[in-house]
Symmetry: C2
DNA sequence: GTAAGATATGGACCGCTGGTCCATTTGTGT
DNA sequence: ACACAAATGGACCAGCGGTCCATATCTTAC
């Protein structure tokens, strides 16, 4: 039997209310009860639909995750299949970084939930595996498995937010740093490169 | 007036009980109430002495932090002042990595407490600043400020634990990865390595 | 030895959390 | 219109971090 109409309505109301709260409110003041209240439903309804807060956040980001996954898996090169390995790596890093910036609050809610909740998330697994593949293709001599995790960790929303808000690093600087992590520019053996101070 | 004798006794009991709980128990089952009970004191006593769980963890690791800080600030080179910059960087990374391994549970308790609690910790600030200095000395052309944060993030206890427990990476592999992050080995210039633009 | 006064104590208490339960209401297919 | 499944929501639970204050304990001065 199809899902009942009121259930559909409530699911939508909860998702919409949760989205609004996660964007507007201090992250750890977003609780099941507040979401339920904002959606005009009972707490149990939220829990029954989504299991827990983790499931709710997952449902919220799922469409954006699959959108990016589609572009990566079957979109135009170089983000999609094909093209120069080094370019593919950097394009992918930019896409991931943009994704993190756009979805910081939801990603932070994920990270906050449990110690490994973020990494255990199937989407994260996909990002990391793809990252490892592209690092390996671009730089076959490094430990791509480890480096992928390290770079992905540098892309954690809480880390990026911390660097921006408390260390006053602007987005471009962080972005450049991430690129350099994954694929350091060659050390110039001859002339002393005009270093950034 | 000196601290009362019973206060001294209780402080020691709390520290010892907390240490034991943090080592033996699942981290997020360690609560004020359980520590107080294990120490045989009231909850308020724990709070009054240490402010909150963060302060308690801080008091527990403080001696180990200052021990390492002393070696870094005024110990024998190359961990202490002096010596070759590249060696100094790698020796320092090893010391930090060992410190994380030895104090994983307390560090994770710190990290767990709040989003920025770990970075905001004065000890972390010291480690990061020192790391930035050594990176800059060893590799003057990179953005040492960013890279220091990225490497320090890769040294988070939760990250290291995750890689070991869930990704089955052994300690030496992670250690090597961290060294490569902070100071990547030169790409062999002979063979036709595809340079990034 | 004792009394006065400062210090330390701990359990009741508060508002909150994530999550469960089940009597009741609501929607759906016949 | 009816019967029955599906959905609901608020009371409820155990737990959390943290506060409060009447009481107990220590220390000092005499």
């Amino acid at each position: 039997m199809a899902e009942r109409a009121d259930a559909v309505r409530n699911r939508a109301a909860v998702l919409s209310a949760a989205e609004a709260l996660f964007q507007r409110e201090d992250l750890d003041h977003v609780s099941l009860a507040r979401i339920a209240e904002a959606a005009g439903v009972g707490k149990a309804t939220v829990v029954r639909r989504f299991g827990d807060l983790l499931g709710l956040v997952g449902a919220l980001i799922a469409p954006r995750v699959t959108a990016l996954q589609d572009r990566v898996r079957s979109g135009e090169p170089p983000l999609g299949p094909g093209g120069d390995p080094v370019v593919r790596l950097h394009v992918y890093l930019d896409a991931l970084f943009d994704f993190v910036l756009e979805n910081r609050r939801l990603i932070r809610a994920l990270e906050q939930y449990g110690p490994y909740a973020y990494y255990a998330n199937p989407a994260s697994q996909f990002w990391i595996d793809e990252l490892a593949d592209r690092i390996h293709a671009a730089r076959p001599t490094v430990d791509a498995g480890y480096l992928a995790h390290a770079v992905f960790t540098a892309l954690r929303a809480d880390v990026v937010d911390y660097l921006r808000e408390h260390r006053h690093m602007d987005t471009d600087r962080i972005r450049a740093g991430v690129h350099a992590l994954a694929d350091p520019p060659d050390p110039t053996p001859g002339p002393p490169l005009p270093g950034r101070s």
